[in-house]
C-alpha cells in the first residue's frame, strides 16, 4: 500500500469510531496489504489520537491463545495501544452505544514499575519490571463489519481494542500463579466461560516478553506505570446494553463491568 492508501484506511477507521458504522474488511479493498501496512495504519491513528490530546496509558496483546490463533490462521500474537479515555471504573455504567459490536475478555493486567525495552528481554527482565498485577476485563470491539477480520484487519484497527475495566487490588507477581490461576466469567449471573492463565501463550508473562521484544526494535519502550493487557484467558463474550459481566479469579477476588441500559427511546417500536 502507498502512503495515500494507508492514510485513507486510517481515516476510514477513525470515522467508524464516530459514525458507529463499521467498514468493510480492509483486506477486501486493499489487495496485497502487508503486516507492515497494517501496523502503519494503526500508528497513523495513534498519532492522530495523541495530537487530539489523548494520553498513551499502555498496550494490549491479543491473539494469544491457541484457539484464536487457529481461528485467524496465524502463529503469533498482535498488539495495540491503550489511551486514557479507554479506562472505565468498576461498577460505573459503560455506554454500550459507545461501541459497535463489543465483547468482553477476562485478563490479568501488568502494571510496570520500570521501563522495559527489547530486544533481548528475558522472562527475568519482564518479571523484574512488573510492579503488580490487577484483575481486568477488556472490552474489545471491531470497526470492521461483523468482526470479519483477518490478522491484518485487526492490527490496523488497533488490535480490535475498545476499553478496559481494572480491579482495585494490586497483587504482587509472587502471590499469583499466572499459569494456573482459574477464572470464571459470569454474564448476568450465568457462567459463560472458564479458563486458566496459561491459556495466554502458556503464561501471561510470555506476552509481556513478546511485546517488549517486538516493540523495542521499532524504538518503542514500555514505560514505567504503563498497563499491559497480555491477552484473554477465555473466548471473548459478546455483551449487550444493560449487561453485568464479572470475572472471578481464584484467590484474587473479582472485577465487574457494568454496561448501561439502552436509552429508552430505542424501546419505542
Amino acid at each position: 500500500m502507498d502512503s495515500f492508501a494507508r492514510e485513507s484506511a486510517a481515516q476510514a477507521l477513525l470515522e467508524a469510531y464516530e459514525t458507529k458504522i463499521p467498514i468493510a474488511p480492509l483486506t477486501d479493498t486493499h489487495e496485497g496489504m502487508s503486516l507492515d501496512d497494517a501496523y502503519a495504519i494503526q500508528e497513523l491513528q495513534t498519532r492522530r489520537r495523541l495530537e487530539e490530546g489523548r494520553v498513551l496509558k499502555g498496550h494490549k496483546v491479543c491473539l494469544t491463545s491457541a484457539a484464536t490463533q487457529r481461528q485467524l490462521g496465524v502463529d503469533q500474537p498482535d498488539h495495540g495501544v491503550l489511551f486514557d479515555d479507554m479506562f472505565f471504573l468498576e461498577h460505573a455504567p459503560i455506554e454500550a452505544g459507545h461501541y459497535l459490536a463489543p465483547k468482553v475478555e477476562p485478563e490479568i493486567a501488568f502494571v510496570l514499575r520500570s521501563p522495559l525495552a527489547g530486544p533481548g528481554v528475558t522472562v527475568v527482565d519482564a518479571i523484574g519490571a512488573v510492579d503488580y498485577v490487577l484483575l481486568a476485563l477488556e472490552i474489545i470491539d471491531s470497526r470492521i463489519r461483523d468482526w470479519r477480520i483477518t490478522i491484518l484487519d485487526t492490527v490496523a484497527d488497533n488490535a480490535s481494542s475498545g476499553g478496559l475495566v481494572l480491579g482495585s487490588t494490586p497483587t504482587r507477581l509472587g502471590d499469583v500463579d499466572l499459569r494456573l490461576v482459574g477464572v470464571n466469567l459470569h454474564r448476568n449471573g450465568q457462567l459463560v466461560a472458564t479458563g486458566a492463565g496459561g491459556a495466554v501463550l502458556g503464561s501471561p508473562i510470555n506476552a509481556l516478553v513478546w511485546l517488549a521484544n517486538t516493540l523495542g526494535p521499532r524504538g518503542v519502550t514500555l514505560e514505567a506505570g504503563a498497563v499491559v493487557l497480555p491477552g484473554s484467558i477465555t473466548a471473548a463474550q459478546a455483551v449487550d446494553p444493560g449487561d453485568t459481566v464479572t470475572a472471578t479469579f481464584s484467590g484474587l477476588g473479582s472485577v465487574t463491568a457494568q454496561f448501561a441500559p439502552a436509552p429508552s427511546t430505542s424501546e419505542v417500536r
Binding site: 491463545s65 491457541a66 500463579d177 499459569r179 494456573l180 490461576v181 482459574g182 477464572v183 470464571n184 457462567l191 472458564t194 479458563g195 486458566a196 492463565g197 496459561g198 491459556a199 502458556g202 484467558i233 472471578t248 479469579f249 481464584s250 484467590g251
Partner: protein, 270 residues
C-alpha cells in the same frame, strides 16, 4: 457375524455386544439406528447388565463416573441431569502408566475432579451442601474415555448403555479435604506435546462438581441405588476431551491438586 445388519436388539444382546466390542477392541454403529426405543431408561438397564457381567468375570465395583456434566452439552442432548456409569478396578490406571492403546479403540483424555466418598449419599432430595459433606477427599484426575461407537457418534440411550464411554482413569498426586479447596475456581490447564490446548475451571462441571454429585445421587435414587462410602466418583470432564495419540504426551495441570502426566503409549504415527 451380523454386526451392523438390522436385527432385533434387546437388553441382553446389546449388553453382550458392547462387552464384545470392548474385548475385541472394535467400534460399531449406534444401536438406536435399528432400535429407536433404546431410550435413557433402557440404556441404564443395559449398563446395569454389563456391570453384572463385569462383576461375574471377577472385576470389583470401585465407584462411578458422571458424564455430560456441562449444561451446554446437556441442552444439546436434551437431558437435564448428568449421566452416571460404573467404575471397576479393571479401569484403574496406575500413575505413570501410558495410555493402554492396545485395549482401547480411540481413547481421548479429559481432566476431572475426583471425589472419594466418606459417607453414603442416598437420594432423593440430596442438596449440594450434603453432597459436599459426604466427600472425604478431593483429587485431580485424568479420565481416558473410549466409545464403542464409531467416531463417538451416539444418542443418550446409546452412550448410557455403553457405560458412558468408560475406558480407564488415573488419579492425581494430592488429596485434599473438600473444606480446603474452592473447586469453583480451581484452574485446569491441558498441554499436549508441550503446547497449551485448553484451559478451564472446575466450575465447567455443573457450576461446581458437588452440584453434579448431588444430581447424580438423586438420579441413582430413582434406580433404587445410593452412592456408597469409599466409592471413587469421577465428576465429569472439565474441558473438551483431547485425542490420546500414540507417541504424544498429555499433561493435565490443576492449580492446587497437582499435575498428571500421561504418555500416549503405543507407536508414534507420523
Amino acid at each position: 457375524m451380523s454386526v451392523d445388519r438390522p436385527q432385533a436388539w434387546d437388553v441382553e444382546s446389546v449388553a453382550a455386544e458392547l462387552l464384545a466390542c470392548e474385548d475385541e477392541v472394535r467400534d460399531r454403529s449406534p444401536f438406536t439406528d435399528d432400535w429407536r426405543e433404546l431410550d435413557v431408561a433402557t440404556g441404564y438397564r443395559i449398563q446395569d447388565r454389563t456391570l453384572e457381567q463385569r462383576l461375574a468375570r471377577g472385576e470389583t465395583l470401585v465407584g462411578m463416573k458422571l458424564g455430560l456434566t456441562s449444561r451446554a452439552k446437556q441442552r444439546r442432548m436434551g437431558v437435564d441431569t448428568p449421566f452416571v456409569a460404573w467404575l471397576t478396578d479393571a479401569m484403574v490406571l496406575p500413575a505413570g502408566d501410558p495410555v493402554p492403546q492396545g485395549r482401547l479403540i480411540h481413547p481421548r483424555i479429559e481432566p476431572e475432579i475426583v471425589f472419594v466418598m466418606g459417607r453414603r449419599l442416598q437420594g432423593p432430595g440430596v442438596t449440594v451442601a450434603q453432597a459436599m459433606a459426604s466427600v472425604d477427599q478431593v483429587l485431580g484426575g485424568a479420565e481416558i474415555i473410549d466409545s464403542r461407537y464409531r467416531d463417538f457418534a451416539f444418542t443418550a440411550g446409546d452412550v448410557i448403555a455403553d457405560n458412558a464411554s468408560s475406558g480407564a482413569f488415573v488419579t492425581g498426586p494430592i488429596a485434599l479435604s473438600p473444606c480446603n479447596i474452592d473447586l469453583s475456581t480451581e484452574g485446569v490447564l491441558v498441554e499436549v506435546d508441550g503446547a497449551v490446548v485448553d484451559s478451564a475451571t472446575a466450575a465447567a462441571v455443573q457450576g461446581h462438581p458437588a452440584e453434579a454429585l448431588a444430581l447424580a445421587a438423586n438420579e441413582l435414587a430413582s434406580r433404587g441405588r445410593a452412592i456408597e462410602a469409599g466409592w471413587i466418583v469421577l465428576t465429569g470432564g472439565i474441558t473438551d476431551a483431547v485425542v490420546a495419540r500414540p507417541g504424544s504426551t498429555v499433561w493435565t495441570h490443576f492449580a492446587t491438586l497437582g499435575s498428571i502426566y500421561l504418555s500416549g503409549g503405543g507407536e508414534a504415527t507420523s
